[in-house]
């Protein structure tokens, strides 16, 4: 008999906890959950609302009109349609992921499903950041050639002699600005998820290690 088995006898006899009455238990049923899953859901909704709302900010309609003029209707609406099809697919993935998360399943599957949800959210963020990045750069480049203000500037005396240098600086600067902006956004997301899922990830790794 080992140490634990000796102590097990004590374990079996314990029963002294301040137990809750039926009324107290019943009132707990009405309380709101604060589980990780709920937080993930809240963050997913915030992500979705914020990333969609950017398009509908006041003042954006002016920008939209100008974009259509510069980019052409096909490119402009085409990119929107593709974007919303992808987002609809993500919403479907989120929904099926959440349906799969149930507290009654074995611990390891539960963790796997939560991490899968996290992965979908990560892809959603990556997709949005890539979309903003690619579209932003594409628009900036198109603007170089189609925006009357730009064309006017390119033809001005100071720039006309250094066109190649101007293009290079312009494109590099655009990439840099978008790069920094998106890195900050990604950093914030990673921090939020890092804090939220640190313990879960650690426990999942521990379970995984046992299976090796």
């Amino acid at each position: 008999m080992d140490q634990l088995d000796i102590l097990k006898k004590e374990w079996d006899t314990q029963k002294a906890y301040p137990s809750y009455s039926k009324e107290q238990l019943k009132s707990m049923l009405a309380l709101k959950s604060t589980s990780i899953v709920k937080w993930l859901l809240i963050i997913a909704i915030i992500e979705f609302v914020v990333l969609t709302a950017i398009n509908f900010l006041p003042g954006m309609s002016k920008y939209h009109g100008e974009s259509i003029r510069i980019m052409g209707e096909v490119f402009y609406y085409g990119s929107y349609i593709v974007h919303y099809i992808v987002i609809a697919y993500f919403i479907f993935l989120f929904y099926s992921n959440y349906k799969r998360i149930q507290a009654t399943q074995p611990t390891r599957s539960l963790m796997k499903n939560i991490l899968r949800t996290r992965k979908t959210m990560k892809w959603y963020i990556w997709y949005n950041l890539a979309y903003i990045f690619i579209l932003g750069i594409a628009v900036s480049i198109v603007m170089l050639f189609k925006d009357p203000k730009m064309i006017e500037m390119m033809q001005s005396e100071t720039v006309a002699n250094h066109q190649v240098m101007f293009y290079t600086i312009y494109i590099l600067f655009t990439i840099l600005v978008f790069g920094v902006m998106l890195s900050i956004l990604y950093g914030i997301y990673s921090l939020i998820y890092g804090i939220l899922l640190r313990r879960l990830r650690f426990n999942y790794e521990e379970l995984k290690r046992m299976e090796v």
Partner: protein, 164 residues
């Protein structure tokens, strides 16, 4: 219908609440967190209850949901509470029920198990609750062989903690 279900659930929970308390005690360090975790377990149990078909015992089903909540779903809140005070309060309440020696051994056991990580705690808890390796492996979602191997390692670890 809902009222009947609620009544039935509360009845079963009241009878088996000791299981949840033991888990809360292992996974938290102060009375507030204990209550928080207990509430979250209750919410998760109630949420899953409509799908509980009674093909397993209520207590068996409860182990799984309660441990999942403690290990996976529960978010520890940051509190500035002196953790030592909790143990003292707990044991003051139990003094009438145990003689000093038993009390001391139980304290020793709890403080040793608390030094383990979340998964090891779950293994030891299920072991202390007389669950066989088949049930342990099913609850945690690992193979029976691995549960056994890991349990043996944890036992050695615990012995080393208790008898350094």
């Amino acid at each position: 219908m809902q009222k009947d279900l609620e009544k039935e659930f509360v009845q079963q929970l009241e009878e088996n609440q000791n299981i949840v308390h033991k888990i809360c005690r292992l996974y938290t360090n102060d009375a507030d967190s204990h209550n928080d975790l207990f509430q979250e377990v209750t919410i998760q149990l109630w949420r899953a209850y409509p799908k509980f078909r009674g093909d397993s015992k209520f207590s068996t089903w409860m182990y799984r949901v309660a441990l999942n909540t403690a290990i996976t779903l529960y978010r520890k809140k940051k509190r500035r509470v002196d953790t030592a005070s909790y143990e003292q309060i707990e044991f003051k309440a139990t003094e009438q029920d145990y003689d000093d020696e038993t009390n001391e051994q139980l304290t020793l056991l709890y403080s040793a198990v608390k030094q383990l990580n979340d998964i090891e705690k779950a293994l030891v808890f299920l072991y202390l609750e007389n669950k066989n390796y088949k049930e342990i492996s099913k609850t945690l979602g690992i193979s029976e062989v691995n549960a056994r191997v890991k349990m043996n390692r944890v036992k050695t670890k615990l012995t080393n903690i208790i008898n350094p």
